[in-house]
């Protein structure tokens, strides 16, 4: 992992000297990304997640092996690509993380606050950002679990259900949130993800209303982020975009986060899920 971080640093430092032309720089980055595919540290998170799923934890010392992720108690294979979905027991549309919170509460006896603690590794904030809080290297049970659950859908087709009215409502609300511009920068998700072929600095941006872009984006989260040396979840991706949009903090596993993820999942429908992927 350290090597990856160093590599990322070296590459970033070298960017200006690769070639004067912009195209060459982008080509080099693409080549670097392909080189990364060789060894993906996400496997370490997945292995920890599987162990955590099976281990007795919480006041009830119970495992999560009876947790229903939508396909029936204990069925993990293929569950992630069919989320978010409506769950009758909570009467809510839930994604993988919010469903894990439910299972930690009902099966293991944690409080909701305990289940939601440390949803992201470290502080969640990228290292390049000045951060007054420590916490680098702090592990997240939630992140490990979601890495494993996602890995059990690797190679499958993204197919979020849309038959329940609340699933359709979540989609529609997610779409409206996607276009919702606010805050001191007037940003909305659409500011960066509304047009094709755009970049922030050198980072290419997916247009979420374009199936191919959405499939590539949705199909690669969770992802191991080389620049951060951490595995990051889809909930984290929402939280971090919202932070950069200068909005107040998006609550982990909140209805707005799930609505946005429902919108993206639907836009990515039919794509192949290859997460946990490795990312720049």
């Amino acid at each position: 992992m350290r090597i990856h971080r160093v590599l990322a640093g070296v590459l970033t430092a070298m960017l200006p000297c690769f070639a004067p032309a912009q195209q060459d720089t982008l080509k080099e980055i693409e080549r670097y990304r392909q080189l990364l595919q060789d060894g993906n540290p996400a496997e370490l998170y997945e292995a920890r997640g599987e162990e955590l799923w099976k281990r007795g934890r919480g006041p009830k010392n119970a495992s999560l092996e009876r947790c229903d992720l939508g396909l029936g108690p204990g069925i993990v294979k293929g569950a992630y690509v069919r989320l978010p979905r409506y769950f009758a027991d909570t009467d809510r549309v839930q994604d993988a993380e919010s469903r894990l919170v439910t299972c930690m509460v009902t099966l293991q006896g944690f409080t909701i606050e305990e289940a939601k603690r440390n949803p992201f590794s470290g502080t969640g904030v990228p290292m390049i950002t000045t951060d007054p809080f420590s916490g680098v290297g702090q592990r997240s049970v939630m992140t490990d679990l979601v890495a494993w659950i996602a890995s059990e859908s690797r190679g499958m087709t993204i197919a979020p259900p849309m038959s329940h009215p609340k699933e359709r409502l979540a989609y529609q609300a997610g779409e409206r949130l996607f276009y919702y511009r606010a805050g001191p920068y007037d940003f909305g998700c659409v500011t960066c993800h509304g047009d094709e072929g755009k970049r922030i600095r050198l980072q290419s941006l997916p247009k979420m209303d374009n199936a191919k872009d959405a499939q590539r984006a949705f199909g690669t989260w969770p992802g191991y982020r080389v620049s951060e040396g951490e595995l990051r979840s889809m909930q984290w991706r929402m939280w971090e975009c919202i932070r950069q949009m200068r909005f107040p903090e998006l609550e982990f596993a909140s209805d707005a986060s799930i609505a946005l993820i429902t919108y993206l999942a639907k836009k990515a429908e039919g794509g192949t899920f290859i997460a946990p992927a490795i990312k720049r």
């Binding site: 200068r246 903090e249 209805d255």
Partner: protein, 205 residues
Amino acid sequence: MQPKMILALGFSGICVAACATRPSDSEAEGAVAEMIKASFKTRGQAAIDRLKQDDAQALCSRHSGELPKGASEGIEKAQQATLRYPSSGKLMGDWREGERIAQSGGGKQFTDDPARPAGGSCYNCHQISKQELSFGTIGPSLYQFGKLRGASEAIQKYTYGKIYNSEASTACSNMPRFGYNGVLTEEQITHLVALLLDPESPVNK
């Protein structure tokens, strides 16, 4: 299920398929309003009231990319009324300072120190000087901005106004209204004007 409800469901189903980009449904409006209230929390300088939209934000959100006739002019007129220029009358600062501001992408995030000045995040979206290869493409290239336009008082005023409030000339622009929203100070904006217009700036070499 009641036939009425089946009809409603069937209809909303059609709408998801046919009017996929812009469903207009009061239920969804209500759900969004509830989420805006319940799913976010104040952290650091990013207080919850940042989610309250002004008229321009609300209009641009509702009609993303497809404003009704006359709405653009309405927004632009209202935003023009907000334009304020430095009382000193000096619109061009130091392009070197401008380059630093253009490079800096921080400011106004809940992880940023509110005591430190915000950056302009300009390179995030624009090509500016030829030397900086790491630039974004959400906005147009600004390379040779001044060389193509000169640095007359009218151009200085136009450039200052564009940075101060981009929506005074382009309704629903993707660019933040840096001056109007108090992100950048008057002085910072004059440095950016210099970066774009000063003949000595690398932008115009």
